[in-house]
Amino acid sequence: MSLVRTEEQRSLAEIVRSFVAKRSPLSAIRVMITEGRAYDQDVWRTLSGELGLSGLIVPEHHGGTGGSWADLAVALAELGAGLVPSPLLASGVLVSGALMASDDEDVKAELLPRLADGSLLGALAVSEAESPRWIPDRPRTVARNDGDGVRLSGRKNAVLNGCEADVLLVQAVREGRSELHLVDRGTSGLSVTRTPAIDPTRSVASVELEDCLARPLAGDATAALSQLADLADFALAAEQVGALRACLEMTVQYAGSRFAFGQPIGAYQGVKHKLADMYTQWSLCDAALRVAAEAEGSAEQPTTAAAVRALTSSTYADAAQTAMLLHGGLGFTWEHDAHLYLKNAIAGNVLLGEPAERLERVALGLGLA
C-alpha cells in the first residue's frame, strides 16, 4: 500500500533529510556553484554508497536494493527539498531505468551493478533541438553499420549530467528503427559541452557525435523509452513535491517571524491565504504522487505518472514565484535562497519534456486522441 508511508519510508526520509541538512546545506551548494562544480564528490559518495540511493530501484540480482517507486519518491523528495546537485536523477534513475526497461540482458548484467553502486555515471541523450518532444519519435541522430561496429552521428541537447558521465545512452535511428546505443566518454568524435542553463543546481550538456563508435542495445528501444518516460515523469515530480514543500516551509517560517504594522505578516489574510493555497496544492501533488507510486507496473502507470508531473511541475513553478514574492524585497536578493528554487522550478517545468507533452501523454492514456 503506497498511499500511507511505511515505517521504513519514514525512516529513509529522516535519514536523507538529516544528511542533506548536515552535508549539503544551501550554503555549501552556493560555494560549489560558484566554483563551477556540477556536484560534490563526497556527497555523491555517501548518497550512492552508504545511503545506497543510486541502486535504490535496481533489482537485487543486478546489485541494487530492489526498492519501489514509492521508496524512490521518499528519497528524491528530500533531495529535491534541499536542491542537492547530484547525478542521481541522470544516472541512478534515467539511465538505470532505461536499461532496466530494455531487453539487453548482457548490458544490464554488465552496467547495472556499477550504476547501482555509483562507480559508473551514465547520462541519457535523447532530446534534440529539432524535436518538440523530450524523446523524439524519429530522432535525427543516425546510426550506421561499419564493419562489425556501429557509428553514430548527430546532436543531442538538454543532456542531464552529460559532462560528468562515464557513458552516454544515446537514442538514434538505424535502418528506420529507433535504438539505444552506449557511447563511452573519450570516444573519438564525441564532444560534450556544458550548457549555460538557468538552474545552477543542475548540470546540463549538449552533445555532438561525429561518427562515434557505439554499442547498440538489443531489443525494442521504443517500448523501453516509453517505460522510462513514466519513471522520468514520476521521479522529477517527486523531487518537485519536495522542493514545493521547502518553498512552503521557508515562507511559513518567514511569515511567522517578520512583523509589519504590529503583527507577523502571516496573520494577514493576504499572506496566510496564499500559504494555505500553497499547502493545499502541495497536498494534492503529494497525493497524486502516492497514487502514481501505487500504480507502478499497472495499466494506470503511464497516465498517473504523466498526471502527477503535469500537476506538480506547473504548481511548483507558481509556488516558487509566490515564495519569492511573499519574502518581499528580501526574497529578491541574491543572498536569499528564493531565486535558487525559482530557477530550479522554471527549468524543471521543461526538463524531460514540456507541459504540453505531459498533457498529451495523459490524453493518450484517456483515449482523448
Binding site: G266, A267, Q269, H273, A276, Y279, D286, R290, A307, L359
Partner: protein, 406 residues
C-alpha cells in the same frame, strides 16, 4: 489495492442489494435538472422507501451500535458500501443530514433515552432530520448566532431565525443551536436542542437560490416550547456539540465517494465535447487532460486521507484542505466548461442544461459548509501554525508598544 475475502463478500452483498433497489449512475434522467431536490413529496417517499429497504437488508447504520438498530461494523465496511454505491443513483438526499450528521452526534453525545427514541426510526427511514446552525447574521462566524432559548419552569422557549437549512421542508425533527447565556463569551453560552419541526411556532419557508431552485430553507421560531430533555449534551456546551457534529459532517463528506454524475466533471465535459467535435483539437484535448489531472488529484487526496485515518493518522484540519481543494476544482471546472462550450451553454443548446446549472451552482457548492476564505484561515492557523489576525495596531498605540520584527 488488496481486498480481503470478507470485504469482497460484503461488497458483493451490497452490490446485489443496490442492483435490485437503485438506478445505475449516469442513467438518462440522472443528471437532468428534474432530479434535483425540490419541495415536493415524491423524493421524500422515494428516500423513505429506499432507506426502509436498506434497513430490511441489514445495511442501515453500518457503523452505528447494534442496540439502536445499527450494524456495529467498522469504517472499512462504510467505505466499501460507499464505493459500491458510487456506481448507483441513490435517493438519499432527504435523509442525508440525519444519517451523516445528527445520528452520529446522538450516538456520541445523546442520552440513552434520546438514542432509543430517535435512532431506530431514523435508520428505518421513518423520521427525517435537519440541522439548524446558520443564521442570516451568523454564517462563517456561526458562534455569533442570536436565536434565543429562555429557560421556563419545565423547559425552554426558543425564538429566532435559521437559514440555509437543507431538508427542513420535509423534516420531522431538527437540531438547533440557540443562545442560552448571552452574558457568557460567545462560544460558552450556546446550547444544542432537539426540536419537533411540527411543533407550534415553527415555520419553514423555501430559500430560492441563484439557480432558481430552492434546495434550502429558512426556519422561523416564534416562541417554540421545548421540554427540558430536548438538550443534546450539556446546557451552555452546545458549541462542543456543534464541533462534534461538524466533525461527523467532514467524515461523512470525506468517506462519501463522489457519484460519477457531476455535470462539470471530466466524464461529463468529455461527453459534451464528444457529441460536438471529435476528435478534439490539441488545445481542447489538453484542457480535457488537465481536467482529468486536477480531478484525479482531488480524488487522490481523499483516498490518502482515508487511508491515513484508517492507519491511525489523524485527519485533523485536513478536512478543510479537502473541502477547499474540492471547491476550487468545481470553480475551475465551471470556467473550463465555459471555455469549451460557452456559446452553447449561454444559448441553451440541447444537452447543456445540466452543465449550465452546474456553472451557476458552483459558487454555492464552494460556499456550502464554510467559505473558501474560512477554510484558508483554518489551514493557515491550525496546520501551518500562522497567527490569527489580531487587526492592525490601533492608531493611538505608542510606537514602543507595537510589536516589530526585531
Amino acid at each position: 489495492m488488496t481486498t480481503s475475502t470478507s470485504d469482497a463478500g460484503f461488497r458483493t452483498r451490497v452490490r446485489t442489494f443496490l442492483q435490485d433497489r437503485a438506478k445505475p449512475a449516469g442513467s438518462p434522467t440522472g443528471s437532468s435538472t428534474e432530479d434535483l431536490p425540490r419541495a415536493d413529496a415524491s423524493p421524500l417517499q422515494e428516500a423513505k422507501a429506499f432507506q426502509r429497504a436498506v434497513w430490511d437488508a441489514g445495511l442501515a447504520g453500518i457503523t452505528w451500535p447494534r442496540e439502536y438498530g445499527g450494524q456495529g461494523l467498522s469504517t472499512d465496511e462504510l467505505v466499501a458500501y460507499n464505493q459500491v454505491a458510487a456506481d448507483f443513483e441513490l435517493p438519499t438526499i432527504p435523509l442525508s443530514i440525519g444519517m451523516g450528521m445528527v445520528g452520529p452526534t446522538l450516538v456520541e453525545l445523546g442520552t440513552d433515552e434520546q438514542k432509543a427514541r430517535y435512532l431506530p426510526p431514523l435508520l428505518r427511514g421513518d423520521e427525517v432530520w435537519c440541522q439548524m446552525f446558520s443564521e442570516p447574521d451568523a454564517g462563517s462566524d456561526v458562534a455569533a448566532l442570536r436565536t434565543r432559548a429562555l429557560r421556563t419552569a419545565d423547559g425552554w422557549v426558543v425564538s429566532g431565525q435559521k437559514t440555509w437549512t437543507s431538508n427542513a421542508q420535509w423534516s420531522d425533527y431538527g437540531v438547533v443551536l440557540a443562545r442560552t447565556d448571552p452574558s457568557a463569551p460567545k462560544h460558552r453560552g450556546i446550547t444544542m436542542f432537539v426540536v419537533d419541526m411540527h411543533a407550534p411556532g415553527v415555520t419553514v419557508r423555501p430559500l430560492v437560490v441563484a439557480t432558481g431552485l430552492a434546495p434550502f430553507n429558512e426556519v422561523f421560531f416564534d416562541g417554540v416550547a421545548l421540554p427540558a430533555d430536548a438538550v443534546v449534551g450539556e446546557v451552555d456546551r452546545g458549541w462542543q456539540a456543534a464541533v462534534a457534529m461538524l466533525r461527523h459532517e467532514r467524515v461523512s463528506i470525506g468517506t462519501r465517494v463522489q457519484t460519477r454524475a457531476n455535470a462539470l466533471g471530466f466524464d461529463s465535459l468529455t461527453e459534451l465535447v464528444r457529441s460536438r467535435r471529435w476528435p478534439p483539437d490539441p488545445v481542447t484535448r489538453r484542457q480535457l487532460a488537465d481536467a482529468h489531472v486536477r480531478e484525479a488529484a482531488v480524488l487522490a487526496y481523499g483516498q490518502v486521507l482515508q487511508a491515513e485515518v484508517k492507519a491511525g493518522i489523524e485527519a485533523g484540519a485536513r478536512g478543510s484542505v479537502a473541502k477547499l481543494a474540492g471547491a476550487e476544482l468545481r470553480l475551475w471546472q465551471a470556467r473550463l466548461a465555459q471555455e469549451l462550450l460557452g456559446p452553447d451553454i449561454a444559448l441553451g443548446a440541447p444537452g447543456t442544461a445540466a452543465a449550465a446549472l452546474g456553472i451557476i451552482a458552483a459558487p454555492g457548492v464552494a460556499t456550502a459548509g464554510g467559505t473558501n476564505e474560512i477554510q484558508r484561515n483554518i489551514i493557515a492557523e491550525r496546520i501551518l501554525g500562522l497567527p490569527k489576525d489580531g487587526g492592525i495596531a490601533a492608531r493611538d498605540t505608542p510606537f514602543d508598544q507595537i510589536r516589530t520584527t526585531r
